[in-house]
Amino acid sequence: MTTNLTEQAPSTQVPAIELRGLTKTYGQYNAVNNLNLVVPQGAVLGFLGPNGAGKTTLIRMLLGLVHPTKGEGRILGYDIQTQKDKILPLIGAVVETPTFYSYLSGYDNLKVIAYTGGIAESRIQEVLDIVQMTPRAKEKMRTYSLGMRQRLGIASCLLSNPRIIFLDEPSNGLDPQGTIDVRNMVMRLGQMGHTVFLTSHLLHEIEQTCNYVAIIKRGTMVVEGYVKDLLERSGHQIMIETQRSDLTAHAVNQVFGQIARPLDPYRTEVTIPREQIPNVVKTLVDREIALYSVMSRTSSLEQYFIEVTADSANPFDKQAQLAQVSALQAVG
């Protein structure tokens, strides 16, 4: 019997992920509460939220590890509760820290996954090459560093050449080089046409690797949209170093409204749409204020994240967190 692939393959028009009122309740506690989300195919989605916001629970529900209490979820048009047989061949995932059988080698661990998913063994070498793990593949898992485990986790995701890849905190616990490696790998996956669903605490990582972002708090969606749109909504931050920050802030505020504040005698923080930055510079030059440098503040998503996730009932906390972020940025 032949299989009609054109009938079985999901349309490129359907969203990669579509959630309608998805809810997971443990007793009185709503881990995920009435979540609605539409992720287009090909998007690299950064899924953000404070600890305990429900990110991992959502991923587990999408993968069929946890049963939703109510609501509906679809992956490439297939229902997550009743059509797992259609969904699983189309997805790859690493949930939380990658875990493998410690007494097996990396290669054998991938073999277990390949056998389980009905994937040809020849694919193992291909994915090992992609994540650059071939030289250590025959060694026992217990000898692997966390970075190597993360890479093997990504390799396990790629085994079935999936349409959608779920990565849950892939940079957790990695050293700076490991973080950069994983980030580059995620960017490559996006360029290869995979839809990527990425959760991370590293907001600048999301900013660099993702084009779409969703933020949840206490199981509820706070905001979703393209990263660029969200950043523009929140304004772009720059830091200007001049001869005198008080004169700088005064000049900028006079022309553009209250958007500038001195950080110290020389540095001024300015929040402004990106396209307005040249005008700010021109204003300072016109007023003959000696301009030493203009630096873009790269983690504006971090500020935006804190703005939308901070407890609104406690504005003091929010201010404190924003001040802390500003201080850290100023140091940086």
């Binding site: 991992t56 797992k84 699983l88 949930v95 875990t99 059988y101 998913g117």
Partner: protein
């Protein structure tokens, strides 16, 4: 399903616990065979004077001859099976608790459940592969009995003069073989199903192992305290089944009844396992 079997087989044959389970009866068989040499050594040097009677000396010579008789085929093979039968419950519980509980302790369910949609097949595969390993263990016990049987077989005539090779008598070998193999495998199957169920409930290797040991011990002895339940325990029905297979006329429970009772035990344990496992949230550790 074939892929699941391949995956499970790969995991099992590279797991040290599986090899320990296989080697425990082999080691026990070796000890038993060496023990037979010790028995004959102890009987060898009875003084041939007034301190021992001719009857005593004849009795000891008879014992030595019986031990020697047991070092020939097919008795050595049956002895090996018997040794496995002695520890079959423990071996089954250790193996199955490790196979299922290991997925919880290493947090690996989340890796494999997202590759294959039908959860119950994971359990059925573990049962199938685990039972195959236990069958190999049983066989290894028998083969070890034969191989290690050569040690006393060659040594005993050197230790004690006058031992004679027994006349071949294989008339009841098949009945004894059935009586050793079939109930052993059935008990392993039932214990395996119970261990899977209790390991899934406790989500832990140690929990599954400990609770199954306690349960099977209590279940095996409940007939002593509650007479009404005597004919419904696993052990009573297995004993009856063995008696029927050996055709020794000692069976107190009809064959059909014992088979149905054992089948019910297995079905309930497996049913609970599948029901709970399919509904369970794998929410991490």
């Amino acid at each position: 399903m074939l892929g699941l079997i391949q995956a499970e087989w790969l995991k099992l044959r590279k797991q040290s616990t599986a090899w320990i389970v296989l080697l425990i009866p082999v080691a026990l068989v070796l000890i038993v065979q060496l023990g037979s040499i010790l028995v004959v050594l102890l009987t060898k040097n009875l003084p041939n004077d007034s301190s021992s009677t001719p009857q005593q000396r004849a009795q000891l010579a008879n014992t030595a001859q019986e031990v020697y008789n047991g070092t020939f085929l097919p008795d050595t093979f049956l002895l090996g099976l018997g040794v496995v039968g002695f520890v079959k419950g423990l071996l089954t519980i250790i193996l199955m608790a490790t196979m299922v509980g290991g997925e919880y302790s290493q947090n690996t369910w989340k890796n494999i459940l997202i590759r294959y949609p039908y959860r119950h097949n994971f359990l059925l595969t573990k049962l199938l592969v685990g039972m195959f390993w236990l069958f190999v263990t049983l066989l290894a016990g028998g083969v070890a009995g034969v191989i290690f049987g050569f040690i006393p077989n060659l040594t005993l005539p050197l230790i004690k003069a006058g031992l004679k090779a027994p006349l071949q008598n294989n008339e009841d070998f098949l009945a004894k073989l059935n009586g050793a193999v079939v109930p052993t495998l059935i008990q392993m199957l039932i214990f395996a199903a119970i261990t899977i169920a209790l390991t899934i409930i406790t989500r832990s290797t140690v929990g599954g192992l400990a609770i199954t040991l306690v349960y099977t011990t209590l279940e095996g002895n409940i007939g002593i305290f509650v007479r009404e339940l005597r004919d419904f325990t696993i052990s009573a029905n297995l004993t009856a089944l063995t008696d029927h297979l050996e055709d020794n006329g000692r069976a107190t429970i009809p064959l059909a009844q014992s088979l149905v009772a054992l089948l019910i035990y297995m079905a309930i344990a497996l049913g609970i396992s599948i029901f709970l496992f399919r509904r369970a949230d794998m929410a991490g550790v």
